[in-house]
Symmetry: C2
Subunit: 155 residues, 2 copies
């Protein structure tokens, strides 16, 4: 614990609570930041950022995915995908090959280097979750999952 700056904790405490659920709301905010902070720092060191990571994450779990399907999953426009995707191809973290007969679509795969970066970035995030689950115990983890599923349904 406590490779932290203490700042978030202070900030969390520094606001009056106008509603009962304000605490939960702020936990969500700082939780999101807490999970992604180290991963983002790692990615920045590699000259990448969160959108690149999202692409790598999805392709890792769907080898030979076409660009259209990737767009669908990421929920962004194809134009928004274009630049980060091309960077990943240039940097040879991804390869694209035309499909055998379905010549229309490019199929994406991670290279070894891409896989390594995806794993390390995601590991930073999983490590945060792992520690939190360990601290909260099995019943806490189960409760967390139940609530998060309900929240995530609002998409």
């Amino acid at each position: 614990m406590a490779k932290t700056s203490q700042a978030a904790g202070l900030h969390r405490a520094s606001l009056a609570k106008l509603h009962e659920l304000d605490t939960a709301l702020e936990l969500m905010y700082y939780g999101w930041r807490g999970m992604t902070l180290q991963a983002d720092a790692y990615l920045a060191k590699q000259g990448l950022s969160r959108p690149h990571h999202r692409i790598l994450y999805v392709v890792a779990r769907r080898p030979d995915i076409a660009i259209g399907a990737l767009i669908e999953i990421l929920g962004i426009s194809k134009q928004a995908l274009n630049r980060p995707l091309n960077l990943l191809l240039e940097r040879k973290l991804l390869t694209s090959k035309r499909a055998p007969e379905q010549h229309r679509s490019k199929l994406l795969r991670l290279t070894e280097a891409g896989r390594r970066i995806e794993q390390r970035a995601s590991d930073h995030e999983r490590q945060v979750l792992r520690e939190a689950f360990a601290r909260a115990g099995a019943s806490g983890a189960a409760g967390w999952i139940g609530v998060m599923e309900a929240i995530a349904d609002n998409n």
Copy 2:
């Protein structure tokens, strides 16, 4: 209960899981989106967006906050604060007045209109949380809080 597009659920299911914690990782991602989606849509209708909401949220809970303290809490540079803040002032959602003797700092407050927008936007987020807690029950909620606190500590 389904004012939703179903899409996120599908996306969540559509990726192979390479690690045990991938599910939790994706829950965090879609949870964050699920909580903010309706609030963002409401804000967009008002010609505002998330940074404006963050400012309103903090000022609501710290009336007469100075700009420096606001910067500290939001964790962004004063230059980044500048444009959204000026928009809020122009639109008369915030007022700023010079401090009595501490003439150096501007003290910020919400106007009635600002308060109304802050409440409605935050209500959208709290409503999502409220429903999720109701579905998960008291023990689930307690577990969620414990885990989120542990995650949020990584800031």
